[in-house]
Symmetry: C2
Subunit: 509 residues, 2 copies
């Protein structure tokens, strides 16, 4: 968004240039561009506004791929805020942030459940639903209405009007983005997995049914394909990997693990199933990071007693990905599980390790201390599942790095995006061989990088150029599950790894 | 409009480009451009259509100033017509023409009264009306509704649907164009005479309320200023003056006379009041060219009897501009008026010349032969008014030509636009010294050049580039009514002129 006060020389008999061209000429000379378009809606109001405001106006201009668009003018002496909305359009959660575009300050932020959860928690259910009669319309309406309600609430919380919002940027995965635009995602999940669009143009908020300023434009992050969406492009944009000379890696762990490797010259991406155990959807006590979720675990080195920390310091209700990784790391380092991840009966596990129908399980929190009133347990099956996830993750990291002839040790920075990145203890992840044994300070948590990228997009003058440059630079690596991949995977199924020389820091622990 | 069948290679696992980008890439390579935009409306339908039509589609693409816009796709094997509508948006009459854009054939054409005539016949009344409460909305609605009705009728007359229309081009004067777009023309008629816009962008027909294909775009001819409108730019475009090495002149006579002089290197334009007597609004028997209007007059060289020809060979109702010029020429050549244009009592005028209250008048058609049942007469005042008009016209022509250091004799072609041009007899106009004494074959009638230009615009691939080039090349000459102008004007008030050497061909007649 480009915002600037422009002072025009009023028309005279010597200069009878029309109102629109007079204003646009001034903007063009500031922007050094040939094309600034103006909507009919604004054109109709222009002559009165220019004269009322004595030819001194603040101009709000947004750049599409081929042209700048004048999205609004306000009186130069007026202090009306000019705001933008950044949206992280998650499958489960949607995060909305209002930004004052004159100061780039965050005015308000709110997270809410994606209203499409009512159709189904997972993407597949929603895609199938979209293909029913009116399904697409209904599911599109759910998210649009949800956003409108939330925008209105957030606006009033920070004392602005939806009409003060001139830009909306949306970062989401390919399916969520399609549903948001009312595009049928049917072909996204069917071979050969084709999105309707990779790089949407700016769309008028009005056309999408978003109730903000009628001239506001919506920036929708482009995707690389059905399985590498705009949320990840936003994350890369936010991380700045594409600006650095050194090679960094970025991982975003959700239902899938998406990985990006590169620097200012090149970017390689891949995605693979590595996350389920980490997102709380496999283990019996698994849950998403939220109040009452065990996010950190320590063992007392003397008593071997377990110490849990929960989000919000609430009584424990379950365990989230980072807690599970901590737990597995403690189990391994204290010999409660062996290098194959199997429970070992020993003094250290005390009376916490049980057996039921031949399946071993471990009581992490006894019923008396849990919020649910039942034991919170981890079974051998849960550990097995985690080990598969961690092995898959490490294999993907190894595969993508070796695809460019590099080794994991060559990475300068290891970015971890999302909630997972905010809670994970890299030491624990290294201990179980899920993440490579890099110096701890090379691990950087990005937080909600999708929202971060969406925020940068509305602040930036020419975000589409920058975002397109990132998108177009990405080489997508199809993960072939061939013999080499399987060999790597098998080697990674041990704790921390068959080749312990890869994890020199784990041994001393 | 660019129309082409494009055959795409269907997507595969090896090429997972999205539907939109797959199609746009093909169009881009045909057009050698970087930017082809696609509307959300079409994007939503695209995946189903591409698959249904097996990736063979005819694409309809229109060029805006900075980008091409995909306005529609149809099945490559389908024979649905792809049509356009050209509109000559006159203050009095509107002419609509439907063109098959695959063959460039005219499918239908119709002229109707501008429905804004209900507000007032002249531009000023309408501009004042627009400034009242809701006035602009109402007057805009009148023309939009009128066009919609006529488009529907014309479509059914040639067996197409309004949905088959993908482009509309509109040529009109600056005020009519403003009212068409719903822009307030208030400032057009007030010093310093500023239009709201000079060069409108392509506008979606839907936004303007025009009921054609929802993706159709409207091309609106740009203006040079409040008094040199898009109708004239369309006329220049149609004439091709701007493509020739030789210098030509173009005149368009309506309420004002607009004049353009130039060649491929430069264009000079001016406008002045010269027309009233020629457009039927001053003389008592004056009327617009139409059924029953006397458009041609001859005198029998022996009996001096008058022979009138009417449009449609209907009984005479009045006289239009070309008839009036013929009449004045005959009067002058047969000595019924003198070189000052005053009636001379002589045998030749017979009993047709009368006198009432000291004002002489001449019975052109006796009551017995007229359609109205009254004498059709021309008074001395009518002749005087014609002489002022013709003198003004000649003075404007002399002034604009001498402004570039040329003489009227240097002109290779003299284009006469509009109805006036279609009916006028250049010999008569030369006889009274209204038009310069050039060889008769240098006079070319352009017919409805505004409609002609509008037609060329929708047929052309990149009309805005061409039209902008014309518009931007025009230097507008403000006619200063100074001593030199008045001297020229006084000299031109004689028949044919004070300086008879300027009209060598008139003497022998």
């Amino acid at each position: 968004m480009w915002i600037k006060t422009v002072s025009l020389i009023p028309p005279s008999l010597q200069d009878n240039t029309a109102d629109a061209e007079r204003l646009i000429k001034a903007i063009k000379s500031h922007l050094r561009t040939n094309t600034v378009d103006i909507d009919l809606y604004l054109l109709r109001k222009l002559p009165v506004l220019l004269r009322k405001w004595k030819y001194n106006v603040r101009c709000i201009v947004l750049k599409d791929r081929s042209r700048w668009i004048l999205s609004g003018i306000i009186n130069a002496t007026d202090t009306i805020p000019i705001a933008g909305v950044a949206v992280d359009l998650g499958t489960t959660k949607v995060v909305l942030r209002i930004i004052d575009l004159s100061t780039n300050q965050i005015l308000a932020e709110h997270t809410f459940d994606n209203p499409q959860m009512a159709i189904g928690p997972d993407i597949l259910t929603r895609i199938h639903y979209s293909n029913q009669d009116e399904g697409l319309k209904k599911i599109n309406r759910l998210i649009i209405d949800g956003l409108n309600q939330m925008i209105e609430k957030l606006c009033s919380s920070c004392n602005i009007k939806p009409d003060n919002i001139y830009a909306v940027s949306v970062a989401g995965n390919t399916a969520m983005t399609h549903l948001f635009m009312g595009l049928n995602p049917y072909w996204i999940i069917r071979e050969p997995y084709i999105p309707v669009v990779n790089k949407p143009d700016l769309i008028k908020a009005q056309e999408l049914g978003i109730n903000v300023n009628p001239l506001a434009r919506v920036i929708i992050f482009p995707n690389v394909g059905s399985y590498f969406g705009g949320d990840l492009i936003a994350g890369i944009f936010f991380s700045g990997i594409d600006k650095k000379e050194d090679v960094s890696i970025l991982i975003d762990v959700g239902t899938n693990a998406e990985v990006l490797l590169g620097n200012k010259h090149w970017l390689v991406a891949c995605a693979g199933a590595a996350g389920p155990a980490l997102e709380g959807s496999v283990t019996r006590m698994g849950m998403l990071a939220g109040p009452g979720a065990i996010d950190r675990i320590k063992f007392d080195p003397v008593t071997f007693k377990i110490k849990v920390h929960t989000i919000g310091n609430k009584p424990p209700r379950g365990i989230c990905g980072s807690g599970l990784i901590d737990l597995a790391a403690c189990f391994f380092l204290y010999g409660i599980i062996d290098i194959r991840g199997k429970f070992v009966s020993s003094k250290r596990s005390g009376n916490r390790l049980k057996d039921k129908d031949g399946m071993k399980y471990y009581i992490v929190v006894p019923a008396s201390e849990s919020e649910t009133g039942s034991d919170l347990i981890i079974s051998q099956a849960d550990i097995d599942s985690l080990i598969i996830s961690k092995a898959a993750m490490y294999t993907i990291l190894e595969t993508i790095t070796s695809s460019v002839g590099m080794s994991l040790k060559d990475l300068s920075t290891f970015y971890v995006a999302g909630t997972f990145g905010s809670y994970i203890n890299p030491n624990s992840a290294i201990s179980i061989g899920m993440l490579p044994d890099l110096p701890i300070d090379s691990y950087k948590s990005l937080g909600n990088s999708s929202l971060g990228g969406a925020t940068m997009a509305i602040i930036s003058n020419d975000c589409l150029d920058k975002i397109d440059a990132i998108r177009d630079k990405i080489t997508y690596l199809e993960l072939n599950v061939n013999q080499e991949f399987m060999n790597r995977f098998s080697a990674a199924k041990f704790l921390p790894h068959t080749d312990t020389s890869l994890f020199p820091s784990v041994k001393p622990r």
